[in-house]
């Protein structure tokens, strides 16, 4: 069942948009590309002040007990403004893993900090093209983990990570305190994501889920994050569609606005289609949290959102012509973010397989 946003939800969208547009600008974001290991601190401060970090977590641990629908609304607005820190999604994913699979002690230890934003969380499952490696490279033995997880978004500043490891071939979903764990910063094309390799050497780790159930749990966490990211991608694509439209209406060539040429106007109309499909799928998936078809809905949302944002980035630059490829205009910020978000939480290949396995009845 799809949903219509109620008044409270619409207020969240309006208020977060107002706050973000007032406080996040291209001029803040461009320098972050040249700096390794810096995120948009103003965004993260705002996320904490506005309670966005607490939004979808339980009240008992300082959360606001709202859900994926509301967090999605924030993420959509964050996507529109290219908001700078990756933790909105990664801290949420880490907190959900602990909330859903952790002990009372683990929840008490980590959730209040994640809800307030004082603690930053990361999800470290992927290894290159494997979003959920069947044989995790990190080994877990006697309460300690050893091995490397490459390319973890937010990894440079995270205080706690949720990882997949194995104990003699038996998989496990673990929570790891990252204090003292070595991180190797990755110079990326989207540096404010603060991506790092995590190098574990006998770090203490506690189990959340062991044996094969660990994969299902990890997939569920990835799906929750994918729905948040799908909203963020949709927001980015929507902003680009509007930027392209505004440019096509004002820029003139051959004596008329370029938007009067069908090669331009149809391109933008096609973007409208992609954005609306992505939006519809994202809203639907958020509303399916806790239902049997949640993973299927999340996969569909993820696929449409990735297609929408990448296509919008490509086409918006193309419509701008030469000015579109300059550093200063900043459209490359969206190109970079579109690709980054396409790779975080599993690529389209991964979600295509997840989706088709379910449609074909291969897996439950």
């Amino acid at each position: 069942m799809s949903i219509l946003y109620d008044e409270g939800q619409q207020a969240i969208a309006t208020e977060s948009r107002r706050a973000l547009e007032a406080r996040v600008s291209k001029d803040d974001l461009l320098p972050l590309l040249d700096a390794r290991g810096q995120y948009h601190a103003g965004f993260w401060t705002m996320a904490k002040e506005q309670g966005w970090t607490a939004l979808a977590l339980p009240e008992a641990f300082g959360g606001l007990a709202l859900g994926l629908v509301e967090l999605g609304l924030i993420a959509h607005q964050a996507g529109r403004t290219l908001s700078g820190a990756p933790f909105l999604t990664s801290s949420f994913g880490a907190a959900k893993a602990i909330e859903l699979y952790g002990s009372e002690d683990q929840k008490a230890r980590w959730l209040p900090g994640l809800a307030s934003g004082q603690t930053i969380g990361a999800i470290a499952f992927a290894s290159g093209p494997d979003a959920l490696p069947a044989k995790p490279s990190v080994t877990w033995r006697a309460g300690q983990v050893t091995g490397t997880v490459p390319g973890v978004s937010g990894g440079l500043f995270a205080d706690v990570a949720i990882i997949l490891a194995q104990d003699g071939g038996t998989p496990a979903l673990l929570v790891v305190d990252l204090a003292g764990v070595e991180r190797r910063a990755v110079d990326s094309f989207d540096n404010s994501r603060c991506i790092a390799d995590l190098l574990f050497a006998d770090a203490s780790a506690e189990a959340l889920v062991t044996a094969d159930a660990a994969f299902a749990a990890a997939l569920h966490i990835l799906a929750l994050q994918a729905v948040v990211t799908a909203h963020e991608q949709t927001g980015g694509a929507e902003a680009l569609m509007e930027i392209a439209r505004d440019y096509a209406v004002t820029r003139k060539a051959f004596g008329q606005p370029i938007g009067a040429f069908q090669s331009i106007k149809h391109r933008i109309a096609e973007l409208y289609g992609l954005v609306e499909l992505a939006r519809a799928n994202a809203i639907h998936a958020a509303a399916r949290e806790g239902k049997d078809d949640f993973i299927t809905a999340a996969a569909a949302a993820r696929l449409s959102a990735t297609e929408a944002y990448d296509t919008a980035a490509r086409d918006c630059v193309q419509i701008h012509g030469g000015i579109g490829v300059t550093w200063e205009i900043g459209l490359h910020l969206h190109m970079r973010r579109a690709r980054t978000l396409a790779l975080e939480q599993g690529s389209s290949f991964f979600w295509e397989d997840v989706l088709v396995d379910r449609l074909a009845g291969v897996s439950a």
Binding site: R245, Q256, N281, A299, V356
Partner: protein
């Protein structure tokens, strides 16, 4: 159970009870004339059961309910392949326009009720050889003749004209003013002297569309449904009526489940095709696209239920669903390889890939071509400028041919 759920349950039960008499199996092997006769009986059964004219006023034989009840019924009805296609245009556009703009109300009422019962069929005479998308460029003319009018010219692509009793028509009554301003809207008796209907066989083999010729066809001024010169505005109201029809994210082609089943049966390189990455990607992409359309459609229904006007994104369905159906159908034929050659001209595009493929181009052209829909989205929704129109503001008879 809400009223709407109860309504839908009743619609579901009624549709299921009609399957034996009117379903796909009952229609198999019938000639078009036999199928039309069956369709008329089906339409009558719908009328008697209270499922005809669901959102039309009760004084015209309708049910006086909302758009949401109509769409809910249509969604159920669509599942069964009933012979309702002959009445789709008639009850979808010309008859509602007649109901809104017809001047002789007693006549209107009689026509509307007969159309609802399937006893009479109406067609819509808009497109012409000189243009379909450019409706206002039409050339068929009506000249004053005594107290009425005399029509000469030709229409084309007129669905079901060969079975129609009446039609609504837009004609040029003044060639000396710019093209949109010289049009007038009338109804005509399709059996009148001077009206000639000639079916056109389409690529898929069927002949539901026609050429219609008008040679000195005389009508009274009481046939006029718009002010003289005000016909374009009445033609445009059709678009508003069409907003509230059930949509199909499969683009009126086969459901994706059928493709998945095919991919499980067929082997590519010795492995089930469902394990082939190329096939998997297409399934995933098509599912995501259709799921998005389904969610858009569902949201539109919820908005209608809440008394709101659905957003403009509903206009995406035809554009996106039909063209992707065309590609998916090609891919399904690829999967079957030489096994796909066997072709049944009478198979339904809803469950046969070859039929879906050969008929898909019609879907991308009729009722607004893909390009026209993209223009509409760009101009009406996004506020982009109109294309360059050299004929704008120029009297029709001075536009270079």
């Amino acid at each position: 159970m809400t009223d709407l759920e109860a309504w839908r349950a009743r619609a579901t039960a009624w549709c299921e009870s009609m399957v034996a008499e009117f379903g796909k199996a009952a229609r198999k092997g019938l000639s078009v004339e036999e199928d039309l006769a069956l369709g008329r009986r089906y339409q009558r059964a719908k009328f008697d059961a209270g499922f005809a004219g669901i959102n039309w006023p009760t004084e015209y034989g309708g049910q006086g309910l909302g758009h949401i009840e109509k769409i809910s019924f249509e969604a159920e009805e669509m599942k069964h392949g009933f012979p309702n296609v002959y009445f789709g245009i008639s009850l979808g556009m010309p008859v509602p326009v007649l109901m809104q703009f017809g001047s002789d109300r007693a006549f209107v009422k009689e026509r509307v009720v007969k159309a609802l019962k399937g006893e009479e069929i109406w067609c819509q005479l808009f497109s012409e050889p000189s243009g379909g998308t450019d409706l206002a460029g039409l050339r068929t003319r009506a000249e004053p003749d005594g107290n009425g009018w005399k029509i000469n010219g030709q229409k084309v692509w007129t669905s079901w004209a060969q079975y129609s009793d009446y039609g609504v028509i837009v004609v040029r009554t003044d060639p000396t003013v710019p093209k949109h301003k010289g049009l007038t809207y009338f109804w005509v008796d399709m059996k009148a002297p001077g009206v000639t209907v000639r079916p056109i066989r389409l690529a898929g083999g069927d002949s539901h569309v026609n050429e219609v010729f008008f040679d000195d066809v005389k009508i009274g001024d009481d046939h006029r449904m718009s002010p003289v010169g005000g016909g374009f505005a009445v033609a445009m109201t059709t678009l508003m009526i069409e907003r509230y029809v059930a949509t199909d994210s499969a683009g009126f082609g086969p459901h994706l489940d059928l493709f998945v089943e095919l991919a499980k049966e067929v082997k590519l390189n010795g492995r089930p095709a469902i394990e082939d990455g190329r096939i998997r990607q297409q399934i995933a992409r098509n599912h995501a696209m259709r799921a998005g359309l389904d969610s858009i459609n569902m949201r539109a229904r919820l908005m209608m239920q809440a008394g709101m006007t659905p957003g403009p994104e509903g206009s995406l369905n035809k554009l996106i669903a039909v063209r992707s159906r065309q590609k998916l159908s090609e891919l399904a034929l690829d999967l079957k390889g030489t096994g796909a050659f066997a072709f049944d001209e009478h198979a339904s595009p809803k469950d046969d890939w070859a039929s879906s493929w050969i008929n898909a181009p019609t879907g991308r052209i009729a009722g607004g071509s893909d390009e026209t829909l993209l223009n509409t989205i760009a101009e009406r929704i996004l506020g982009l400028p109109q294309d360059h129109r050299p004929d704008k503001g120029i009297p029709f008879n001075q536009i270079p041919a």
